[in-house]
């Protein structure tokens, strides 16, 4: 205690030392205390490592999914090649595999659903974000739209089968196409209802983020409410709204059960939007457990791989746009 403290430097020796009684009891206590603090330090390291492993696990999980899909679809990639994607006939009995009917069915039903749902989800976004952000009526609407996302897809499918399909069949008799009821049009209608919430809730939060000075400046110039929305709010949130629509599209592409129940499940190329067809997801759901030949199974998994890659790309683009938008 003589030199270092006076010089203003604190060394290890100056820290208050704990006096240990030299009785056996005192030594035992001190030992236990040291052990305990070492145990704490060890546990801390283990805990930190566990956390990192959990983080790594997510990456391994996604890579594992990708690798499994690729490995399992190798037989079909090898034997069918790239023309598999453009093949027009799907006939497992004669070993002819072409994914074009399902690609077409997926694209038709998803984009049709998107086109139907965009006006509604945009209207919800504008209504909740700009016209009435607060109050009981918008609260009701917000909860109702969230509820749309919460209802299980199998229930949508069941309702579609029992209620929507007969209505569509009636419609088809009126406009003079073959009245089957089940088909791409029915599944698009169901999908359109199901994907409204995704674009709507994202659009709402984007619209609420428009800086009010921008809007006030427009009002100050004498713009009406609609003109503010059309020439300030919508252009400003353009990319965010686009991202919401992309995420909706991702949902629509991957949706399985509701579509499987109302699309009709035929492997023929759909002639028009009222014809029955199949999407990639629904053909997997229908035929996976029946696939008896390795190439057949592998061809189905290749469809899954395509579906996986497409949805991953769409989702990542959507997330990137949202991130850029929220950081600005």
């Amino acid at each position: 205690m003589d030199t270092s403290v006076e010089k203003g430097i604190v060394t290890r020796n100056d820290l208050p030392l704990r006096v240990i009684n030299s009785t056996p009891e005192g030594i035992f206590k001190a030992k236990r205390r040291v052990k305990r603090s070492f145990r704490q330090i060890r546990t801390e390291t283990v805990f930190r490592r566990t956390l990192t492993i959990m983080g790594l696990l997510m990456i391994i999980l996604v890579l594992g999914i990708l690798l499994t899909l690729i490995i399992q679809s190798l037989p079909s990639i090898k034997s069918l090649g790239l023309k598999y994607l453009w093949g027009k006939v799907w006939d497992p009995v004669q070993d002819i595999y072409g994914a074009w009917p399902f690609l077409l069915g997926t694209l038709l039903s998803s984009f049709l659903a998107l086109i139907i749902s965009i006006p509604f989800s945009l209207a919800v976004a504008v209504f909740l974000g700009e016209y009435f952000p607060k109050g009981w009526m918008p609260d009701f609407l917000k909860n109702a739209v969230e509820l749309i996302a919460a209802v299980p897809s199998v229930i949508y499918g069941f309702w579609g089968l029992a209620v929507l399909v007969p209505i569509v069949r009636n419609l088809e008799t009126h406009i003079g196409v073959e009245p089957v009821g089940v088909g791409i049009f029915s599944s698009s209608l169901i999908l359109a209802i199901m994907i409204i919430p995704y674009a709507a809730s994202l659009g709402r939060s984007m619209i609420q983020m428009v800086p009010s000075p921008l809007k006030e400046a427009a009002y100050g110039l004498g713009a009406t409410r609609w003109e503010v929305i059309r020439s300030v709010v919508l252009p400003y949130t353009k990319s965010g709204l686009f991202a919401g629509i992309l995420l909706s599209l991702g949902r629509a592409l991957g949706e399985t059960m509701a579509v499987t129940m109302v699309i009709g499940n035929t492997s023929l190329i759909p002639k028009n939007i009222f014809a029955p067809g199949n999407t990639m997801a629904s053909v997997i759901a229908n035929e996976f457990t029946e696939a008896d030949k390795p190439v057949y199974l592998s061809a189905l998994i290749e469809l899954g791989l395509v579906l996986f890659l497409v949805t991953v790309v769409i989702n990542l683009i959507g997330k990137k746009i949202i991130d850029r938008f929220t950081n600005e």
């Binding site: 704490q40 801390e44 956390l51 997510m58 999980l61 209802v151 199998v154 009406t224 991953v312």
Partner: protein
């Protein structure tokens, strides 16, 4: 500009507002139709007998959905057992090491996982668990659902913990408390409402999932408690019986739909109440 023009513009603005409102509320109509129809069709089928019996073979009236109820509860219980610890730990990792390179990739993977179609998860569970174990099993269904729950749990944990003031954690560290004790004595108790609502949201979401169970839990017409064997679940029962031509089975499916719907709605309302009470932002 003359007065007529201004009137035209104001009129246009009003029309646009009315049209937007109409379109916005038009979304609610199909929802009300669906809920109303399901409840009207199914509520009369539900009684005590319906809840404590297993489905009867075709042609015999009556029967219930006990096997599906038990199966759903068991499958979701085991899925939660897998997903909740992993999800919360990974969420803590992301919140604590937000800026590291690994965290960036981890977050990216969670985003990807959130968008993976459920049918693809079913295929994966089939190849990871069903094929090696040799038979369809409830356990593989749980694993598939756990993968679907993970991103929701992780995201909600991360978002909740990020909102906590860092002074809380720093105060605990200043007292010399080791990291793991800070997490489970300070951070988790404070953020428990957010984490809990994320967990319930995840459970509500996977309760209705059918696609991952098609090739994993597979379905079973009998009551089964063995998680290494095929098991029935509510959405599977609805899917199988809804597409069947028999009236008795359709009735079972309607009743099961109401139960499933009530289950999901209750979980969602409960989550809402939690988030409102503790003012959690999700």
């Amino acid at each position: 500009m003359d007065g007529k023009n201004i009137k035209y513009r104001i009129g246009k603005s009003y029309v646009a507002q009315i049209v937007t409102t109409l379109f916005a509320f038009a979304c609610v109509i199909p929802l009300l139709f669906i809920l109303g129809y399901i409840i009207k069709a199914g509520i009369t089928k539900i009684n005590w007998h319906f809840l404590v019996n297993i489905p009867k073979p075709v042609g015999e009236a009556g029967g219930g959905i006990l096997n599906a109820l038990v199966g759903s509860i068991l499958i979701i219980f085991f899925a939660s057992l897998i997903a909740i610890p992993i999800g919360i730990l990974a969420g803590i990792y992301l919140a604590e090491n937000g800026k590291s390179r690994l965290a960036y990739w981890c977050r990216l993977c969670v985003d990807i996982l959130q968008g993976v179609p459920s049918i693809v998860i079913g295929i994966i569970a089939y190849f990871w668990l069903v094929k090696p174990l040799g038979s369809f099993s409830a356990l593989s269904g749980s694993a598939a659902l756990a993968i679907m729950m993970l991103p929701i749990v992780i995201r909600s944990t991360e978002e909740t913990l990020k909102l906590l003031p860092s002074s809380l954690q720093e105060a605990a560290f200043a007292l010399g408390i080791p990291f793991h004790r800070v997490i489970y004595k300070v951070i988790i108790p404070v953020g428990v409402s957010g984490i809990l609502s994320g967990v319930m949201l995840a459970i509500a979401r996977v309760t209705g999932e059918t696609a991952p169970l098609l090739f994993t839990a597979f379905g079973n017409p009998y009551l089964s408690f063995n998680i290494t064997k095929p098991m029935q679940s509510l959405p599977l029962l609805i899917f199988n019986y809804a597409t069947s031509p028999y009236n008795d089975w359709l009735n079972l499916a309607w009743g099961a739909s109401v139960i499933l719907l009530l289950w999901v709605l209750l979980l969602n309302i409960f989550t809402k109440l939690i988030t409102r009470k503790w003012k959690v932002q999700l």
